[in-house]
Amino acid sequence: MTDIAIREIIGSLVVLLGAFFLFSAGLGVLRMPDAYTRIQAGTKATTLGNLLVLLGLGIHNPDWALKLLLIAGFVLMTNPVSSHALSRAAHRIGIPMARSTVTDALRDDEQREAERRNDSADASSGTDTDTRADGGRA
């Protein structure tokens, strides 16, 4: 009897910790200065909060644990994918960053890639057409 009570209290504390993380995720989404930091705050904190809530419910009633584990694994797989696709789309369509942003590594990478592609196209334009003609004949 006391064993069950202790388990319920521990599970409730873990659920409360997860709910606090969900609350702080909402606070971060409301207070962060630009879209990218909002993506970061909203995604990571909700993932951790969700996992902790599911873990607490699993401690509460262990016979649900398998299905809760399934939900947790699915959240752990899908949440980074959606946030990554969203932040990449935001960078592609030019959502402005906060004024205190120091560096933009993705823009630097894309510039370097474009320069490299231009250089290789200038250097080997003749051989490119030759190989393409060979491939067509073969």
Binding site: A19, L22, L57, T78, S82, L86, A90
Partner: protein, 86 residues
């Protein structure tokens, strides 16, 4: 004791949803609104699981599972639409 803690977590989750809806309403760009919707879906999964525990019905966990399966597709579709059109 345990019920009071669960009620307090429900209140905290309610405030998280409230802040997220505020960002959904005032978000200056479309990406901010999509982030708010994404966050709402993940919070709702946790809330459905919590409600399944409080009401004592195991079948509601299936609702959370299906919601988690389907909700992230919307964000992927919107991200792809923003990037290069559908």
């Amino acid at each position: 004791m345990a019920d009071a803690l669960l009620t307090l977590s429900g209140v905290l989750i309610f405030f998280g949803i409230l802040f997220s809806v505020a960002r959904l309403a005032i978000g200056p760009t479309v990406v901010d609104r999509v982030v708010a919707v994404d966050m709402l879906t993940v919070i709702t999964i946790a809330l459905i699981a919590l409600y399944a525990h409080i009401s004592g019905r195991f079948i509601y966990v299936d609702v959370a599972l299906v919601y988690g399966l389907l909700s992230f597709l919307a964000v992927l579709a919107i991200a792809r639409y923003l990037e290069r059109g559908l």
